[in-house]
Symmetry: C3
Subunit: 353 residues, 3 copies
């Protein structure tokens, strides 16, 4: 494990040292787990109270902080700076895996293998596949006929990449993910459902990350597309012919129905669901468990079921909490109006007496 | 790739040609992706505007359409007709895989193998399993002790079929699905949960399709049943002792709790959830994200949480959107009644002054 | 298959015989599937009506029941008693699998293997792994570098246990589960998301059960913890740095976001979701599809979205069902107040005329 002084680290991340720059750091840790010799960070104000009790020797944060008596590196984006420091101390993901092809891997003739690849035990690669330079396939991965995988990819155990699908450079796919399963399409004839062959593909652009056990269906025809730099969490469902733009984020257990488009820089929180054939504009955000039933304009946040503009959805939520009392007060007001009407000897309810 | 004239295609699907029946078609495509030489279809009115711009040479649709200048095949159910055309041009799923048993597949003596099967690399089949004619197990499938798989099935990579489970003819199971995992059953004793052995099975009838990473638990005792012709999408959860009738459809990420029965011809939209021990009648439909807390009569559509009859649920949804305004108007009306009561010098709230 | 008399079974479970204690029982079954010679149980009053029609020779229940004419074993907790009887007749899970290491399993030198283990076909174990006594790894399991698995564990096919994760004794992990996938953490810089290396682990304590295709992410730093005796169902998502206490239960398709803590003896019903960085107190319960947006005190039940104390959430639900009528009645009451105001020749709305 290498070591760096606080001054060296501040130089690398571009921050300002408050306190003793000569302190030597030998690793990184979370603010609660840190021991002397470690550097940690504080970005979320919720954790500010841990500053007084952390045993870390140094903290990266966005403002000098009186309650901590170790060294501080001040910087605008402490999370991003901390990330750089983590990488200083961590081996990169790709360095971890030894290069070469395991003797039990099945690689038919004619498969194109790049340089410096790593293919693990019991990997099955089918015909006409191509795999780019420095890509790693961990044990028990299956790559079906004609799929193309770019360079510097990392494919974890038990991933399935179905036939003809295309994976860009620097893509990470976690265990159990299924890329290119058949879209869910049937033509109904009376009570029977006839399978519509799904003859399209999935295309995953560069720098995408796909979570564990996430499923991405191939298009009926054409392409299901995950745009450059987008990140999908675990157990996400992407239906056939969905298009996700660049740099969007889809949290765990969210689902997108067929042919829906999610723009760039968008975000779906956990367990959000989108019906099919709608458009979510660039930069739009869907709250956790939000159920989106129609298109959402760019830059809009929506939440709830059915999803509505977020500030309006919050008003509705607050109002529903007052509803039980409102019902009582309403009966009371009805009685008062009854009494007023009786007092006047007239009005619609007087005849009830 | 074969080719057919519009007239030939119209004859095969039983439609009527509008325009030039001699045009030659060499493939199928979506309305947006189509290029000259391709045939496409229009079933969903949402896509009608693409008719003017599609580059397809022909369209299958349910009514002549002035804005398209290629050939048209008119037919009542354009989706079903298009499906037939897709099959004309696509190889069938089962023809794609070469026959025989890969030398790395593990098949103990006594396993019954049908004729003309295909078993891929690193497939593990345990003792007393039987596999029907023409069935395909793709690489890395695991079939545990005593399971029975019918004829003409297609089992994708990384599927697990646990011991003693029964799979009917013409069943398709997508990658990562788990058939026959233990039901989630514990007997609570104080704070501890004691596992109840799950000694039942899963039975999947003919013509069922199971999506990627879907999980179907074996019964505590008896059978978890997926009825003839039903279709389950990806990431669906079916708990122990659930019974699904014939020709029902369960969309992605929906979940059915233990011992609940879903009738025939039913439908669960995406992310719908059903509590345990209820009955969903034949032909009933649950909307997306619907949370069903009690039995649903046959033929009924329900939605929302807790799920209510769909037209009523829509009224509630519309009404909640007016709730923030209603609260304001209610205060206003209270003030007016206050004023009326004061004007009369009487009434229940006058004593507050 | 062994056989026991009713009297013997009553003695084993500590119950009281009502009827003929000499009847011989040869197996267990559900109340609807049972045939003569089988014993069943009745715990849920919903199934009481099946007592009159069951073909079982005996029933374990919590009160003598006139409508059943076979033998009865009376006992306070019939479910727990039945569990003991099931175990009498079932082989235990661990006895089922033959001991030893399959010749195709890959076990590098230096891996520590306990006594009497069972390692199936095409299992891949990486370097520095340790596996405890009597633990079973079924076919196609992958255990990455440095992971530690305790004694008497049962790991089903296609499970991935990522590097350095720790699994306690008597843990059961079902097919397709992924233990230790990377947490979903990025530092945002403009529109790009930079991956934060996830260098922590997952620790699963003793007597935990993990459902099929469930995903548990490793901590960013430190530990994602599943406490002693907790049970997770299928398709559950546990994000990085989550802590689950002892003996908690998480039903299928529920999800817990990053750094959230679920106390001991807690319960999440199906499809429940928790935002990140909150605390759910000991013994708290979240209803099905509940969306929890803030911390929940110990012993509290919550439901709905956003989750509120359960009895209050039910009142709100009931009140929303009356909302469409309320809107009509409100307009009616407004009209009556209008009329009253006009009758008096005064009031705010009189000027509208």
């Amino acid at each position: 494990m290498p070591s760096y002084s606080i001054k060296e680290i501040a130089g690398i991340v571009g921050g300002e040292v408050v306190g003793d720059g000569s302190i030597v750091i030998r690793g990184v840790a979370g603010i609660r787990e840190a021991v002397p010799g470690k550097i940690t960070f504080l970005a979320n104000p919720k954790y500010e109270s841990y500053l007084a009790s952390t045993k870390a020797s140094a903290v990266i944060t966005a403002g000098g902080n009186g309650s901590f008596d170790g060294a501080i590196i001040n910087i605008d984006n402490p999370y991003l700076a901390f990330l750089k420091v983590v990488r200083l101390f961590a081996q990169t993901q790709l360095e971890k895996y030894s290069r070469g092809v395991h003797p039990t891997a099945i690689i038919p003739e004619g498969v194109k293998l790049g340089e410096d690849i790593s293919i693990g035990a019991y990997v099955v690669v089918e015909e006409n596949v191509s795999i780019g330079d420095r890509t790693t396939l961990l044990p028990l991965v299956c790559v079906n006929d004609g799929a193309r995988i770019g360079s510097d990819c990392l494919i974890y155990p038990h991933v399935t990449i179905r036939e003809k699908c295309e994976i860009g450079d620097r893509v990470i796919i976690h265990s159990g993910a299924v890329i290119g399963s058949d879209g869910f399409g049937y033509a109904r004839n009376g009570e029977e459902h006839h399978k519509i062959p799904q003859i399209g593909i999935v295309r995953i652009e560069e720098d995408v990350e796909i979570g564990a056990n996430t499923t991405i269906d191939r298009a009926t025809m054409g392409v299901t597309l995950i745009g450059h730099g987008s990140k999908l969490d675990n157990l996400v469902q992407i239906a056939h012919n969905v298009v996700i733009g660049e740099n969007s984020v889809v949290a765990a257990q969210a689902g997108i129905s067929g042919s829906t488009e999610l723009g760039k820089n968008g975000g779906l929180a956990g367990q959000a669901g989108l019906v099919g054939h709608i458009k979510i504009g660039d930069g739009a955000i869907v709250g956790a468990q939000g159920g989106v039933t129609k298109s959402v304009p760019a830059g809009t946040s929506v939440s709830g079921y059915p999803a509505r503009e977020h500030s309006f959805a919050r008003k509705i939520c607050a109002a529903t909490a007052r509803l039980p009392d409102l019902l009582k007060e309403f009966r009371n007001l009805q009685n008062r109006v009854d009494a007023l009407e009786k007092g006047k000897g007239s009005g619609p309810s007087a005849e009830d007496d």
